[in-house]
């Protein structure tokens, strides 16, 4: 550190930036850890089937697996385009017994 640095103001702390970025990515990755591996493929295939009948947006399908006591619930929601005034509609909901 020289005489110039001594008077120059420091840029924003990089450590706090690192911590904030990590906090977000770690939380995101932990949330994904318990999820079954087949979800992305399942989502894509369901999207293909639906698109045979309705032209939905690729982002219109939302899949979640939730733990409900001993059983796991696979929740699938599809947002259908226009026509209907309500954008989102539950297209299907299936409960499966615990796979673990």
């Amino acid at each position: 550190m020289g005489i110039l640095d001594f008077f120059r103001s420091r840029p924003k702390n990089t450590a706090s930036v690192a911590k904030e970025r990590l906090r977000i990515i770690v939380a995101q990755e932990r949330a994904q850890q318990g999820r079954p591996d087949y979800l992305p493929l399942l989502r894509r295939e369901i999207l293909e089937v639906i698109r045979k009948y309705v032209n939905v947006d690729p982002d219109a399908i939302d899949i979640h697996v939730e733990k409900d006591g001993d059983s796991e619930v696979l929740e699938l929601s599809v947002a259908l385009p226009e026509q209907r005034t309500a954008g989102t509609e539950k297209a299907g909901e299936a409960a499966t017994p615990s796979e673990a």
Binding site: G2, A18, R30, Q33
Partner: protein, 300 residues
């Protein structure tokens, strides 16, 4: 100026602990504890840590085996300084090409310390779960107090086998984004892909060990501090090893850095071993060196 501090007020060496009745905790004196040293990311100091923990525990009179799981890229032998005495290796034992006794290399410094080298010639598929289990069982039967498993980087076969049978895990992490993220991934695997997790025998006890810690950079906000890393990963910290020239000198010489009592890194490893053994010790080397006004003005 590097982080090595020779100010006598900072480098007070703790008196070498005499093995006492409280260690290991009563009731588990006859058990073998399997400790994996892992990280996900490469180059963070797993082998340096494995070597120092093994030496530290042996120095306390414990019977210790340290195993290199990095098949194809062995290095523990170099860090331990026994590379010229490797005749048989871990894979030879698993494939029954020699006995375990033939493959264990006795340390020249401590009678109760043994090294099991990785194979340099085979590929990583040479390890099998059954083979590893057989070796660990034999070490248990031989009355070893500790088996340290030095994991390779990554999350492939060698790394997953190194952690599979563990009772405890030391996750080595640098205060740096990619290392912290990889450590979190490893923590997830430790709580799902281990024998303890599969059999429901309680969790693998997890500890964080920070290495290459630079208190000066933490002080000015250029490096995440120990509390930041602890907060993100959510597990307890068993040691903080300051960045120190002693680490390179030690690996150059093939003498685990814990044996360098003058190096802050060596002292910090000794503290970590004490904590691993259940002692309480304050963290040292966390504070930046105080620089005088003139030193700051004219650089150092």
């Amino acid at each position: 100026m590097e982080n090595e501090q020779h100010d006598p007020s900072r480098v007070e060496t703790p008196p070498l602990p005499v093995p006492d009745a409280s260690f290991p905790s009563p009731g588990r004196t006859t058990l073998t504890e399997i400790i994996v040293v892992t990280s996900g990311k490469g180059g963070v100091g797993k082998t340096t840590t494995s070597a120092s923990l093994a030496v530290g525990l042996a120095r306390r009179g414990k019977k210790v085996a340290v195993i290199d799981f990095d098949v194809g890229l062995r290095n523990l032998d170099l860090i331990m300084g026994c590379e010229r005495r490797v005749v048989y290796d871990f894979v030879n034992v698993i494939h029954e090409e020699c006995t375990l006794k033939q493959a264990l290399i006795k340390d020249k410094r401590y009678d109760s310390l043994y090294v099991l080298a990785a194979s340099q010639t085979r590929d990583k598929d040479a390890l099998s779960k059954e083979g590893v289990e057989k070796v660990l069982k034999e070490l248990t039967d031989e009355g070893f107090d500790y088996v340290i498993c030095d994991s390779p980087a990554g999350i492939e076969k060698g790394a997953s086998l190194a952690m599979y049978f563990a009772d405890r895990a030391v996750v080595v992490v640098n205060p740096e984004v990619s290392s912290v993220r990889d450590s979190d991934r490893i923590l997830g695997l430790l709580s799902s892909k281990t024998r303890r997790a599969e059999l429901g025998n309680g969790p693998v006890e997890q500890h964080l060990l920070l290495t290459r810690y630079n208190p000066d950079r933490v002080a000015v906000g250029d490096m995440m501090g120990v509390d930041d890393v602890k907060e993100i990963l959510g597990i307890e910290v068993i040691g903080v090893i300051p960045e120190s020239p002693g680490v390179l000198s030690a690996s150059n010489a093939g003498v685990p850095v814990i044996l360098d009592d003058t190096s802050p890194a060596g002292q910090a490893y000794e503290d970590a071993v004490a904590r691993l053994a259940g002692e309480t010790r304050p963290m040292r080397f966390l504070d930046a060196q105080k620089k005088g006004f003139l030193a700051r003005l004219f650089g150092s």
